[in-house]
Symmetry: C2
Subunit: 323 residues, 2 copies
DNA sequence: CCGACGAGTGACAACGATTGCAAAGTCCGC
DNA sequence: GCGGACTTTGCAATCGTTGTCACTCGTCGG
């Protein structure tokens, strides 16, 4: 290729990278030759030499989940704009696979990593890591939703409707969002002066699956002193709860009110339309990616960012809807 | 690292790759040293040398869409198992961005590409390409749903209910699935002996968005001779149609029956639960990846694979449900 | 005892780009 | 016409691995 333009490899390289060290006419000649030959500089060779791969690894529990897909998209967007390529890996919620994924990424010499950890993280990694949604308590560089504020918003809304017997269907303990949301719920209960009731505290399985929430809600529905309202800690959990309540012959919101932390897709078409917090998944990915870019640029890392959430009021909480 | 084990680089390399050319004791010593140093062989250097990057590019219109996210997951799964790493790129439904993505992947010297084309494809690429869902008519190596069979299934089911005025809300013309589903619909209409009615043929926008289907369905609802049944060519379109029908004060399925090509998430919780074809997204990704692996293994390419679809009967078609 | 042989190892040259440094070319003023 | 300054170019080394080739040992058959 350099030969085709009648210059040395060095000059061709400089020309293609718009180095000011190369003459105007040469630059044009090189570009012309490159175009004619359909030449694309080999990024692998460049990476080897420059010790920077222009690639970033993103590790999530499951790419096919709406939340992670959207977060990935947010991240991919800003990373691509910055000239990085994204390597995706699924940890499948297994620390072992997460560790394997991390090793693979390191082997590929990614410049940085975005990680929603399932517990497989063990420092120190050789590249900057930004945690998103599922944080490592010890690490810095973290982006997550404002779990406490969000949960408080949900709780207070229900309390505003006069509910005092409020139950909670949470995620699987051990992840940032599950733990923080639960803690926030318990805090709100205490602040409201309600007696803490462990039978009103339930949680889903590892995958925060609909089925697990269905079981949890069925148990709540069977309680002697049934709760009058339920807070589900995620969209899938809310859908599971809804299904269980319906199966138990309970009307929502007349018999039991229901609110969800995450807004399910088509939430407004469900029966009844669900009151929920605004989605934040995409933004989490964007912010995490931006933070990583800043770290890569050598900036001192801002320890933690929280994404604020808003309440979207629909019918399932007992509000009249559309308003 | 080689030094730490007291061997040459060549030997270390051979040892780590389990070459039979290296002595048992040396192999152990090398592994020990590698473990102690947390050494991971540099895949970039290896790629440069072996001219194979162990990476595959996957280009989709939008990673955050349920369909593409699931297809990506399917692909990622089988590729990772085969030792490949996946580079994801979003084409955002723009041929220009697709071309840019393809160039970037080539620059990174991926071993192969999985492409859902939006029209930016221009042969010949330097690596094997397998098309999925959005096929290039000229290229070989293709995986897609059985659009014709699926659409026929839907149509015949409605006809079995006695419908004769069946309308169609399709995707945006120009993509494989949009075109094939429309053609299959028209074919079925003709075979049934119904008069072709262009006012019963509508389509969504580029993104197959809910909003566009809402507009299309609103127009259908306003027709003097309103259709008694509607087939939506995708999940999002079906949801849009449902929303429009509801806004028009029409009951589903009593006033207008509705069936969907793709099964929406939570389809069973919608009001009414939607009759639809089984999802095939994940499988599309898996099959495409498998086909690519076969191509990479040097096998002669099987030109085209179609994923069969099943009908999931719920209430929106007029069946009694649960059965 | 010698040569052939095989196993195990190291030296060395790539892979294709980048980069510091030196050399060549250009231009100016004196 | 010459030295100095500046611009443009090429040379050669380098990034970490892999594949080729040659070399060193034992071992074994003749």
């Amino acid at each position: 290729m350099a030969a085709a333009a009648g210059v040395s490899a060095s000059t061709a390289s400089r020309a293609l990278r718009e180095s000011p060290l190369v003459g105007e006419s040469t630059r044009l000649r090189v570009f012309e030759a490159a175009r004619a030959l359909g030449f694309e500089p080999n990024r692998i060779a460049r990476s080897l030499r420059t010790r920077s791969s222009s690639s970033v690894g993103v590790v999530v529990p499951d790419v096919a989940t709406v939340f992670w897909a959207a977060a990935l998209k947010g991240a991919q967007d800003v990373l691509e704009r910055a000239g990085y390529v994204v390597l995706v890996m699924s940890s499948e919620r297994e620390p072992k696979r997460e560790r394997a994924a991390l090793r693979t990424l390191i082997a590929h010499r990614v410049d940085g990593i975005l990680l929603a950890t399932t517990g497989g993280y063990e420092p120190p990694p050789s590249v900057p890591v930004v945690f998103f949604d599922r944080l490592d308590p010890a690490a810095s560089g973290r982006v997550a939703p404002a779990n406490v504020e969000g949960m408080t918003l949900l709780f207070e809304h229900l309390r505003g409707h006069g509910h005092t017997r409020i139950a909670f269907v949470g995620g699987h303990p051990g992840s940032t969002s599950a733990d923080e949301r639960l803690a926030a719920f318990e805090g709100a209960v205490a602040r409201a002066g309600f007696p803490p009731r462990s039978d009103y505290l339930r949680h889903g399985d590892e995958a925060w699956s609909e089925a697990s929430a269905e079981r949890a809600a069925a148990a709540l529905a069977a309680l002697h002193e049934r709760p009058t309202a339920i807070i589900a800690a995620s969209d899938a959990l809310a859908v599971g709860v809804l299904r269980a309540l319906r199966a138990a012959g309970l009307r929502v919101p007349e018999d039991v009110a229901l609110v969800s932390f995450d807004d399910p897709v088509f939430a407004d078409l469900l029966d009844p339309p669900l009151t929920a917090l605004s989605r934040h998944d995409r933004e989490i990915g964007e912010l995490a990616a931006s933070m990583l870019l800043r770290l890569l640029a050598g900036e001192r890392e801002p320890a933690e960012v929280r994404v604020p959430l808003e309440l979207i009021v629909r019918r399932s909480c007992g509000c009249d809807g559309r308003g």
